[in-house]
Amino acid sequence: MTNSSAIVVEGLRVRRGRREVLRDVSFAVPRGSVTGLLGPSGCGKTTLMRAIVGVQIVEAGAVTVLGEPAGSPALRNRIGYSTQSPSVYADLTVVENLRYFAAVLRKPASEDGAVRRVIDEVGLSDHADQLVGQLSGGQLSRSSLAVALLGAPELLVLDEPTVGLDPLLRDELWALFRRLADRGVTLLISSHVMDEAARCERLLLMREGQILADDTPLALRSSTGTPDLEQAFLHLVREREALTS
């Protein structure tokens, strides 16, 4: 498709054992936007994100990321990915973790400025020299998020980055996501909390391995004639069920 899309997914199918986890998923994510991937737990959000960062075996379909097929070696230092369970070493400090991942991204270790910057961005400056294993749940997931921010990636794929955070921190992180998008970074952020949806420019609503809707929050509310996104989601689910029954 066009160059203005950071992610283009066409006819994606993923099967795990006998279960079809993603069933013919197609959509595009515009560059420089914050797109929310919303849906109940177990609907295929993580599998879809794994397909986009190129670590998921897919059965059929095409995933194009920043103009290259997903998983291409050329993409490996252009994407920041944060898994749902924190992917940092519990027996290293926050700084030691970031220095290691910075070295893997071939950012020289002397570039401590970058390490300090991402620690600042996720609000962990006071815990920089603490062992990750001793951090609280929210701090742990922020240290994992910090790794994804290293190396100024063009695309950030964040799997439930705000789970378990207090509202103030959540607000700060969303402000950070907004600033990154203003700089031209594309963000795909999953959540199972509907109240986060309103902060995104575009929404992908997922259920049982399919995309129910791909639109702006405003358009979703008006097209379904509902006051909030939770209601809009329910409306779409019922509409789909009425069609298939």
Binding site: R16, R50, V53, G54, V55, Q56, I57, G71, P73, R76, N77, I79, Y81, S82, T83, Q84, S85, P86, S87, V88, Y89, D91, L92, E96, Y100, F101, A103, V104, L105, R106, A109, L131, V147
Partner: protein
């Protein structure tokens, strides 16, 4: 492959150990403690000198195998491996990084155990002390490489722990320590021929009696080193960027 990423990986693993001093102490001192125990089980320096060189290879081999397989399994089962697989790191950077970190620990481990055996415990060998050290370190590296490879077949830490008896014990039983290899039944003799530890023990037995560097000794060392490299390359082949 990128050497700077490999070295960064080694540095990262050693930093992880620095925060876990008890594990480091266990790894470095355990073979020495076992050698001391062995010395007093035999109760004569002559009997100790016959068995000790082979065990100087077997203890680090077994310990490095189990430590490596658990550590790499932890990396495989936590999300850190998945994150690394989205980054510009070659699989061999990761595996050789591991091998280098554990290799350095193995050198320390063997130096201390050999040093104590040769001085306090009265181990006497006919060959060169340096050759003895070299073989023992190679053997610990072999344990590391096999541990890295074996971790691919374990899904849980319970399984990984049991690979120690499965991978290591048959090699210890058949390596010539309990019965000379050429006196075993043909099938066991053949099995011992395909097990790398047998060649390490052959080499060590040679070093205890002679200081000659023979073609057989060099061949045995090359077999042990070759098996270690092979296990690392096979370990890299079992790492997949894409998983189900």
């Amino acid at each position: 492959m990128n050497p700077s990423i490999m070295v960064a990986t080694t540095h990262r693993i050693l930093s992880q150990f620095r925060h876990d001093r008890r594990t480091v102490a266990l790894m470095i001192l355990l073979p020495s403690v076992l050698m001391i125990l062995l010395r007093y089980v035999f109760n004569t320096e002559a009997a100790f000198s016959r068995a000790a060189p082979a065990l100087l290879a077997v203890f680090p081999f077994a310990i490095m195998f189990i430590v490596t397989s658990i550590t790499t399994l932890r990396e495989r089962t936590t999300a850190t491996l998945e994150r690394l697989m989205t980054m510009p790191i070659a699989k061999l950077d990761l595996l050789f990084g591991y091998a280098l970190a554990f290799g350095l620990i193995a050198v320390l481990q063997v130096m201390i155990a050999a040093g104590i055996s040769l001085t306090w415990l009265g181990l006497e060998i006919g060959g060169s002390v340096w050759m003895l050290l070299l073989i023992a370190v190679l053997d610990a590296l072999l344990g590391t490489a096999l541990g890295l490879f074996a971790s691919a077949f374990a899904r849980t830490e319970f399984q990984a722990v049991q690979f120690m008896p499965a991978f290591v014990m048959p090699q210890v039983l058949l390596c010539g320590l309990f019965a000379p290899r050429d006196q075993m039944t043909p099938i066991l003799d053949w099995l011992s021929d395909v097990m790398p530890l047998s060649y390490a023990v052959d080499a060590l037995t040679h070093v205890t009696i002679s200081s000659d560097i023979t073609a057989t000794l060099i061949r045995n060392l090359l077999i042990v080193a070759g098996c270690a490299v092979l296990a690392l390359v096979l370990g890299a082949a079992t790492l997949r960027r894409r998983t189900p």
